[in-house]
């Protein structure tokens, strides 16, 4: 289970034995890789998945759950909504914090069902993205 969100004021570059884990679920390779590189540079642990189905496999195999999931909505194979529905079937996944990232103009409306902790509309700026993710940084 993820640790409770924390204030961004706590951002620190302290060496961490177990860095905060971020799961990126995004079909667009360039976006996926850019975000992953950025977060790695910032000291996060990053896992990536190309679709909802891919992400579920990841979660099933993982020993520790990610602290936050960055989720795209429109993806082939399994879209963001279906992924969320599958999360709800597993008690230990049901309350994973989700940050929705989408280019959709009605992102808040479309993501509402997923009860995301934040919605970021593409294109996303670095500061915006890091501020949101920092809320889930481990103590």
């Amino acid at each position: 289970m993820g640790t409770p969100p924390q204030s961004s004021a706590r951002i620190a570059r302290d060496p961490e034995p177990s860095p905060t884990q971020v799961l990126i679920v995004e079909d667009d390779a360039d976006i996926r890789e850019t975000v992953a590189e950025l977060l790695l540079e910032e000291g996060y642990g990053v896992q990536t998945a190309t679709s909802g189905a891919d992400a579920l496999e990841h979660l099933a195999a993982a020993t520790t759950l990610p602290d936050v999931v960055l989720l795209d909505l429109m993806m082939p194979v399994m879209d963001g909504w279906t992924f969320y529905d599958n999360l709800q079937k597993e008690t230990r996944w049901a309350s994973l914090p989700i940050v929705v990232i989408s280019a959709d103009a009605n992102i808040h409306e479309k993501a509402a069902r997923l009860r995301p902790v934040a919605c970021l509309r593409k294109p996303v700026g670095i500061d915006e993205l890091l501020t949101v993710v920092a809320r889930f940084r481990r103590v």
Binding site: I31, T34, E37, D79, I101, P123
Partner: protein, 712 residues
């Protein structure tokens, strides 16, 4: 003394005397062919004779036993019939003035003094006979006059009767006399005619028996009011029932005939058949309400159902509205109504039978575009309506007697038909109805046309909104890595900043995003060009095989990144007169799809030539396309999969087809879900001039499918 004409009947003269010799003498004196002398020897005998006949004069002896002359005269004067007969007394005593006065007082007119002078007697008697004759003549003239008058009166009466009879019989309105209880007593031919009964049949009925059941109560009330003197004459409109059960609308006037004592004796009823006017009125009312319904909504399906329902309010017993395609095939029933809901199912069956019969009035009307009335359905005419073997029996079960059909069409385009039917209660459809039905059918056609245009406009607006939302999504997606990538590079860093080996991949990624944006924008501009017919080709001699190889090379990285592998089979140069960059675009779009929907499985591309054509095939083994989506995929903004799963503008295949079309070529697809798709394009090596110069083709293609959204 003028002797009376021989033809004259002798006048009777009564001579009364108790002396026989006197009687003989007087008879002798007065012996003339024109006199008839009647004698009596006593007053009593005289009175008896007077009872029997009429006398011109009485010669009466004064002195007689038992009843003297005066007494006798008194009696004579007392009786009405004899009171004016002149009496001449016979007396011997001429000097006795008393007697004379007494004689006058009892009514004598003159005296004959004994001994009688024959001449005087004759002279005096003849005076009175003359008087009598004159009186008699006057009386006869009077009688003749009266008789003539009576005759004239009778003639006038006969004339008047004949006049009445003629008026009654020939009147254009129905006239009937009825007893106060309504029993019909006498009716003219028109009255019988309006109601369809013979005089004998009507004589068995009462006024209220020929009323329409719906109007009986008010008709009876009217009769009571008239009897009560409250509404007389009564005038109104009411419905009667014809012998054949059809409703007859009449203007009715009822007045009351009273006896001399003022007692009501009979009703005089005048009826005028206004069914025709009433029907025109009902027809107009229906047309007005139907037109209003047609204007009230753009949902023509529900509107036409409403039109059918309005038709059975008062105009017809049933109504159906059918939609047809341009070949006259009836596609669906959009309206169906019967005044009796219990007969809806029967009507449904009749509809199915007539729709199935290509020779039915309904199908023929749609094909020929003409309206038609089928009358006499219950009387041998049912075959004309069609519906195969079942038709006539269904019509008869429905109780249909008259039906009509009008085609619904606009600008030579057949859209369907409306049918109406009537049972025996209503008059058969006539030319007026046929005109109305045609008029209504035109209005229906306009309503359908308007609804279609409106829906198309709505669809265009929806398509545009959807497109704008997708375009915005697609344009924003590459901006994310671009923005993050650039911001990363711009961030202040400790020490020497970014090492070159980390900057390069970041910049390359940014460049890729810029190219992605370029392609998107080019596609958008192409759509805009195609919509406005400005897609122009710049043909030159091109080797199609080389084009395919070039594009494949360019995609190498992307293909391997997707986990796939390209198997390229190209045999020698395939030269044609084509627009090189446009063909690159087509192959790029097909290859992009093969990668996008290929699930990382192998992709095969080939290029070959025939003497006249060049052909390129690109096959993937990915998700494939649902058979019911295949017809849509070349349309603008279409994709076979949900935009939720796969990004993209939905323009790739659309643009590819437009370019291939502009080259006079063909693009085809074979696909099965989960097995993959094979796209094949075939291009003539020498496209016809018209394909390369004018762009009507592209314009025309762009015009079908969805109307163009504005891309500004």
């Amino acid at each position: 003394v003028t002797p009376a004409p021989a033809t004259t009947e002798p006048v009777a003269i009564l001579v009364v005397d108790d002396h026989r010799e006197n009687l003989l003498a007087l008879t002798g004196i007065l012996d003339r062919p024109d006199y008839r002398i009647v004698t009596a020897q006593s007053g009593g005998e005289a009175l008896r004779l007077l009872l029997r006949e009429e006398f011109a004069a009485i010669l009466l002896d004064v002195v007689m036993p038992t009843m003297d002359g005066f007494e006798t005269a008194t009696f004579i004067r007392q009786r009405e019939a004899s009171k004016h007969i002149p009496i001449l007394f016979l007396t011997a005593n001429g000097a006795d003035l008393d007697l004379i006065y007494r004689g006058y007082s009892v009514g004598a007119v003159d005296y004959l003094i004994k001994p009688l002078d024959a001449d005087i007697v004759r002279a005096k008697v003849s005076v009175f006979v003359d008087l009598f004759r004159k009186a008699q003549r006057i009386r006869k003239q009077e009688e003749a006059l009266r008789a003539a008058e009576r005759q004239r009166g009778e003639e006038a009466l006969r004339d008047s009767e004949a006049l009445f009879e003629a008026t009654f019989n020939e009147a254009g309105v129905g006239i009937a006399h009825a007893a106060t209880d309504g029993r019909l007593l006498r009716m003219n031919p028109r009255f019988c005619d309006i109601l369809g009964y013979t005089r004998e049949e009507l004589a068995e009925k009462r006024l209220q028996d020929v009323s329409d059941p719906r109007d009986v109560a008010s008709d009876v009330t009217a009769l009571r009011e008239i009897l009560g003197g409250r509404a007389e004459p009564y005038r109104g409109q009411t419905r009667c029932l014809h012998k054949d059960r059809r409703v007859v609308w009449v203007n009715i006037t009822i007045s009351l005939l009273r006896s001399a004592a003022g007692e009501p004796r009979s009703f005089i009823t005048v009826i005028e058949d206004i069914t025709h006017l009433k029907q025109a009125e009902i027809r107009q009312r229906f047309l007005a309400s139907a037109s209003e319904a047609l204007l009230s909504s753009l949902d023509y399906q529900s509107t036409l159902a409403e039109v059918a329902r309005l038709a059975v309010d008062e105009y017809a017993d049933w109504c159906t509205v059918e939609a047809a395609d341009e070949k006259g095939n009836v596609l669906e029933s959009v309206g169906l109504a019967h005044v009796d809901p219990g007969k809806l199912e029967l009507l449904q069956r009749l509809r199915t039978a007539t729709v199935a019969d290509p020779g039915s009035a309904l199908r023929q009307s749609i094909v020929t575009g003409t309206a038609e009335v089928a009358g006499q359905l219950s009387d041998g005419g049912a075959r004309n309506w069609g519906g195969g073997d079942q038709g006539p029996s269904l019509l008869s079960e429905l109780g249909a007697r008259s039906a009509m059909v009008a085609p619904v069409g606009a600008r030579d385009l057949s859209l369907g038909a409306i049918t109406f039917g009537r049972g025996p209660e209503r008059s058969p459809f006539d030319d007026g109805d046929l005109n109305m039905a045609s008029d209504l059918a035109h209005r229906v056609a306009f309503a359908i046309e308007n609804a279609r245009l409106y829906n198309e406009a709505q669809a265009a607006v929806r398509a545009r909104d959807e497109f704008l939302s997708i375009a915005s999504h697609e344009l924003r997606t590459p901006l994310t890595p671009l923005e993050i990538g650039l911001q990363r590079l711009l961030r202040p860093r400790d020490g020497d900043g970014w090492p070159a080996e980390r900057v390069r991949p970041a910049l390359e990624r940014c460049e890729r995003q810029v190219r992605r944006l370029e392609v998107l924008i080019d596609n958008l501009l192409d759509v805009s060009r195609i919509s406005s017919g400005r897609l122009t080709l710049q043909p030159e001699d091109v080797d199609l095989a080389e084009v395919v190889r070039d594009v494949a090379t360019r995609f190498a990285d992307q293909i391997s990144a997707s986990g796939s592998k390209l198997d390229l089979v190209v045999s020698g140069p395939v030269i044609g007169h084509w627009d090189r960059s446009r063909l690159e675009q087509v192959i790029t779009n097909l290859l992009t799809n093969a990668i996008k929907y290929g699930r990382g499985r192998p992709i095969e591309a080939s290029c070959e030539g025939t003497p006249t054509h060049g052909r390129v095939s690109i096959r993937d083994h990915g998700i494939g396309i649902d058979p019911d989506q295949i017809s849509r995929i070349f349309g603008r903004f279409e994709r076979a999969v949900s935009a939720r799963s796969y990004g993209g503008l939905g323009l790739g295949l659309y643009i590819a087809r437009q370019i291939v079309d502009a080259h006079g070529g063909q693009i085809e697809v074979e696909s099965r879900p989960d097995e993959g798709s094979l796209f094949t394009i075939e291009l003539p090596r020498q496209p016809a001039e018209r394909h390369l110069t004018a762009n009507e083709h592209a314009t025309k293609k762009a015009g079908d499918g969805h109307p163009s959204p504005e891309l500004s």
